[in-house]
Symmetry: D2
Subunit: 364 residues, 4 copies
């Protein structure tokens, strides 16, 4: 039992299966046997070398599995229990965590001497497949397990909860940050997996007119199933003009950006009413420009809010409740299945967005 | 009594005294005799032609005075009563106002047919010296007087309440939008009149370390009086590096931008902790750039919030309470006095920031 | 056209049709021809003399109709337009309104000399059928019409929007005050019309487990249609014990009280988790007791929040959007129809809760 | 070093010094050598047998001291470092903690099998001197030390930070829960140590008129120093009538209850404006009555909010920052000093409120 297979980052362009030692379990850790995991857009950035990680690191951050071994200080779980953990797994004990920003769990890095005087990075709560070995493997070590292991309710399958660790948590956070009120009109720019979850989240939170924008009719069709009232294909219309017309010149109460480009960011701002909220979910790769006019020269009582996927066992518990109570059905998002042995092929399909892929399930 | 003197915008570079008719009073209006008003940075933009208004418009938006005549439907006031009104004087009845954004009171423009299908502009709650005749005159007509006339508490002088209509309301809003919590570290970039009021507001709301940044030692001295714990002159240090050092690499809980330039906006973002709030007060004149790194690629749980000065009689009542209870003393901001006849000279001094001017009092 | 029929309070036990003069229209008023209205539980309290109003007052506060005549200062509407107004029709210009509490619009009473030194009553925003003539009549005068007239979207019938002015606005406010977060468990005590709307509202806002409690299986059946996941008949179980069992001893995240009795109030508190919110909607008729244990001696980080029905045209606009977008269907709540001439019979049926009545539609 | 002195609860009426073993240090613990601690009103309830604890338990929950020994998993501290910990020391990893209610940290009790099917008690985050040995001893074991140890800033004395763990955190929470806005009028009922801290907190958060009520002129004098604008001695006036007069019949924006009696609770409600917040801090010992009229029959848009003292190292860090930046000076609250050997005499003085005592410092 001391060796396992894991998908590791070797060099830009190369993520490959390797044999690694199964890690030791410290007092606050848990060893989880992975039964299902998935590939995220961020992993593709890692594959391409656009987001740097240490060669040899196991990638992946969406664990569904079974507790193999519990650390001596972890209470209230049992070995053999089915659990998930969030993609972001904060300590929950640091200053940042207690200050309302667990995803930005950087202060533990300062405390533990892991960063210098220049301060800590944002996103330090993201550890799997970033700072520590990730989930595309037979086993993963979950740090701060007391705070991060979330038991799967009876009756839910792996595939039903596979979106909880990242995509659903992120997309829903986009809807939460949009500060939706009863009767709101909400526009969501881009309908990839995260945008689709933002659409589902906006519906769940009471938006009464949801406008989904994408260039892909297949995705717009799924957006309708997720709760969009209106879908706009930007190949067929100017979505900004169309949305201003649909709202009688008033603009939307909230706009959710779910891609990470200047175009979607800017469009979100252009359709936003004075006093409205732009909830940004995308991971940008360039500086952004805020157009003076759309920003009302800074006088529009606008809010721009960004988010990193919330983690922790309470968040996971709540999301799985939503699934268990049939409030949303994200099953349609898992379009392909692979074994861990096929990980290279899975990356290839996913990175090239072939065959209508939305999300893949990887089963070791 | 049918004619009055008023400072009108004639053409770029020319604001001049003119004779105008004293306006008629409709059922929801009040005619106010101005006893003191002031000049705002925005008025200088109008003077220079950078912010377009209709030639012939009376400028100015900060009224302190006496009720001369009340409209037939206005209740609970008496002629001869000393009052102020906010620089922004919303209807308070429109959709926007009931939706929590009275300063962005644009929906009344749609309702009343004053704007086209392209929608309404932000800032439509700002009427004095923008959409209707302003306050640098012997008289001003206050629309929606029931919502906008705020009686001056006994014992307060004109100069003591002169900052309430705009500068104090705006600066304090900057502190309110910064979502200050007990024990917060707050940085305020630029210490002109609005930045100084933001400094006073941050102190009032419980920030425990306030860092004021400017390039003018005289203003930084006043910032200390207003509540700054640390002052940084950007001619003598790199304020971003200095603030990161002061906070042990953690960054500030909130940063307030109070000038309206790329530099101050960007510096505000660079010193902001992951999870923090950038409260923007400045009026920008160019597109803004959000640097990718400082924005954590959109993953920093950051909030960027903009504001237009809140108006209305309740806001004015609260601000005058703050003055009456000696919580802040903004007297130091009124550095020069002029009569209305000297308005051209007053603009000249103020626009060129001569003689240590912060704000001028104009008395018809 | 100068006379109309109206249901007036004569004396305890007597609400009767009478002939009244059609009121004059002041500059800020609108005269509305009623096409549909309804009877509220509060009207029954008035009928029984339990809630005192002036003899001769026209009762009723839920107007659906057509603009007959507009005041000279009211803009953006046209005569003949179909509109509703909220049961609560605040001025929106007073201090209270600008201070975030339009339903508690008492300060205008002080300003206009309508109340003494003892201050103003809560609920002063409720004028129809309370402080001024109400809606169970052929015509009603809408004060502050600019703030209160809400056009009915094309395609919606009177019956579809009849719940918006009061029941839907109140029930939804109960859900809004419950501060519902994704994944919450919410219990709603009593499933009369307001409780049913609270159930629909909790569903709309993202609660993932909704537990509806009542003693009437018919109403519990409708509760399931409105969104309840679990229904508990208190004749068949102890709902407090049952809810604690359902939540694994954790308690609910929020409890909504929708009847106005000690029993429902106390049960709401007994099932509430530490840190949870009790949202109270009922109109109580006796002092309330807070049991020490359920209140954790004041140390449970509990919140108790009460509400009066929100009004105003923006609120009405949003609620009608919810109906128009098919987010909820409150049609099942209108169980009986009467003409205005049959008002006495309508009160009799409604007051005695005969024949499975939930709400009645009255059409002049 | 294996034995220490500790004040233990023996039986109702008896708290006495005893010899106890110095506890062992688990991986997540820290052993703290107490340099200063204090006695709280809650300890007096324990002494009297009104609040039951296990005989033999060490009492006290306000630790100031030095790290003697760190658990193997605790990072970023060093032995010999001066620290405090909150009176409430939550795990910060449990569901409750991640759900925004760390003080109500009960879910860990369920997880660890420490409570039955009836659920967990409120206040389960309070461990020192309640569920585990407390701080009136030479040493205390701090559980979940990574989350709870807060280093004392250089230059602050023990006495300066002695109020942070409980009294200051609780009183400030009362002001935070009051949702104070700029210009608010706030009344605080009772000016014992917690009420005085609530007064200081209300001032810190921007209340512009603070009305302090008590029956003791000495305490009202200190209230003025802490920030009260008006003090009312209830032996000399009817505070409810006086406050309604002071506010022109409007009532206060927020009322803070700081004693825990029906009288102060009820008075708080009677002076509250419709739409206002009652922030309750007291520990009640009987059921409470909500008077129908003062509660506006449930229609007043009132909020009643209770609190348990917030703990954790981030809270402590922020409170010590407030002290370090001279925003408040709570030195006046520490009126007497005792050694640990004199603990019985200290309880006697404090329990009988002799000699103008507010708080005592106990130094082992």
């Amino acid at each position: 039992m001391s060796m396992m297979k894991a998908a590791v980052f070797v060099a830009p362009g190369r993520i490959e299966l390797a044999d690694k030692q199964i890690p030791d379990v410290g007092p606050n850790d848990a060893l989880m046997r992975i039964t299902t995991t998935t590939i995220c857009g961020t992993d593709v950035h890692i594959l391409k070398g656009e987001y740097p990680v240490k060669p040899g690191l196991t990638v992946g951050h969406e664990p569904v599995g079974i507790i193999e071994k519990l650390g001596s200080a972890v209470q209230g779980y049992r070995e053999g229990q089915r659990v998930i953990a969030g993609a972001i797994c904060p300590t929950f004990t640091s200053y940042s965590c207690q200050d309302g920003a667990p995803s930005q769990d950087g202060s533990y890095l300062i405390e533990s001497g892991q960063c210098g005087a220049h301060g800590y990075k944002a996103t330090a709560g993201w550890r799997f497949g970033n700072l520590i070995d990730g989930t595309q493997a037979e086993y993963v070590l979950v740090p701060d397990a007391q705070a991060n292991l979330a038991p799967i309710p009876d009756g839910l399958t792996d595939d039903q909860v596979l979106m909880c660790p990242d995509i659903m948590s992120t997309g829903f956070k986009g809807a939460e940050n949009a500060n939706i009120k009863i009767g709101d009109v909400v526009a969501i720019f881009a309908q990839g997996p995260i945008g689709l979850c933002a659409t589902a989240g906006a519906r769940l939170l009471g938006a009464s007119t949801i406008i989904a924008v994408d260039g892909n009719d297949h995705r717009l069709g799924i957006a309708s199933v997720m709760g969009a009232d209106v879908t706009l294909n930007f190949h067929q219309c100017d979505p900004v003009a169309e949305i201003m017309k649909l709202t009688g010149g008033r603009g939307v109460d909230a706009a959710i950006e779910a891609l990470g480009t200047q175009g979607t960011f800017e469009s979100s701002l252009r359709v936003l009413k004075p006093g409205g909220t732009l909830s940004s979910l995308g991971v940008y790769s360039t500086d952004l420009t805020i157009p003076l006019g759309a920003f009302a020269a800074g006088l529009g009582d606008h809010r721009i809010v960004t988010a990193l996927c919330p983690g922790g066992k309470e968040r996971m518990r709540r999301l799985m409740n939503v699934v268990a109570s049939n409030r949303v059905n994200l099953g349609a998002l898992v379009t392909h299945h692979f074994s861990l042995d096929e990980i290279v092929a899975a990356y290839d399909l996913f990175a090239h967005q072939r065959d209508g892929v939305l999300k893949v399930a990887i089963k070791p």
